[in-house]
């Protein structure tokens, strides 16, 4: 395996709403990834992509997003839970690519104001990730009561999330390394 090429693990911020609290968990994940040796990351804010909404797939594909997904070995999706599911625009963005995702790892971070911490949005995303060819890991992060986890400036108030994030990222990186080895070395029979 080419271990000299760093793993690329972008973090997708899956909401465009004003005042979105999901920005804080996304920045936390990016910061923790930046501390990892052999990993590069970036924050991809779907609000910056401005995809047309009158078509889907190739016709609306954003070249920078497509390139980032092609470069990626794993992705982190940070999604708030809106009415028990994911934001429609997040789905629209994810649907704009396909071949770029195949046999790459995915981890989901759920965000909610309530006590369930985005559990339902994480579950709802699983069949979507699978259909896109992504391999979902079994660690999640649930940011429940997010307005108490971060202050308005994005300062983390609950340090337990550091350990949860580290466990989540360790599993994601393991899966990313294994899948990269497979993509580059194991032929389909």
């Amino acid at each position: 395996m080419n271990e000299t090429r760093p793993l690329s693990i972008p973090v997708i911020l899956g909401t465009t709403r004003k005042g979105r609290m999901s920005l804080h968990p996304a920045k936390l994940i990016v910061g923790q990834l930046q501390k990892r040796q052999g990993v590069t990351t970036e924050l991809i804010d779907i609000a910056d992509l401005h995809l047309p909404v009158d078509d889907a797939g190739e016709p609306v594909k954003d070249a920078r997003f497509s390139a980032a997904m092609e470069r990626a070995d794993a992705i982190v999706v940070v999604s708030p839970e809106y009415n028990h599911s994911f934001p429609g625009l997040l789905k629209h963005v994810l649907d704009s690519c396909l071949k770029e995702y195949i046999h790459k790892a995915a981890g989901v971070v759920g965000v909610s104001a309530g006590v369930f911490g985005g559990t339902r949005v994480i579950e709802h995303l699983q069949p979507v990730l699978r259909e896109l060819g992504l391999v979902s890991i079994f660690w999640d992060i649930n940011f429940g009561g997010v307005e108490k986890v971060f202050d308005q400036n994005g300062q983390l108030l609950d340090q337990a999330y550091i350990r949860r994030t580290e466990k989540f990222l360790s599993e994601l990186i393991w899966m990313a390394r294994v899948l990269r080895y497979g993509r580059e070395n194991v032929p389909l029979e």
């Binding site: 337990a160 350990r163 949860r164 466990k167 360790s170 393991w174």
Partner: protein, 72 residues
């Protein structure tokens, strides 16, 4: 850990927090991770898979407790 089947040194490749496990020793419960963390090992020699609660192993070593876990 060594494989109980063939003695090969096993590869510790994952951790999994077990939810809803009832414990005699609440010290094993990791509040940050909301569960009891189990390490998963795989044997390259024979393929055996083992799950290990490392904190339980440490507790047993330190206290002589034989079995403190139910429901796994």
């Amino acid at each position: 850990m060594r494989c109980p089947n063939c003695g090969t040194l096993m590869n510790r490749h994952a951790e999994k927090p077990l939810k809803g496990v009832r414990l005699e020793e609440p010290v094993l419960f990791d509040a940050d991770l909301d569960g009891v963390v189990s390490a998963i090992h795989n044997c390259a020699g024979c393929g055996k898979v083992e799950a290990e609660i490392e904190s339980l192993q440490a507790l047993r070593a330190n206290t002589g407790i034989k079995d403190g876990v139910r429901g796994i």
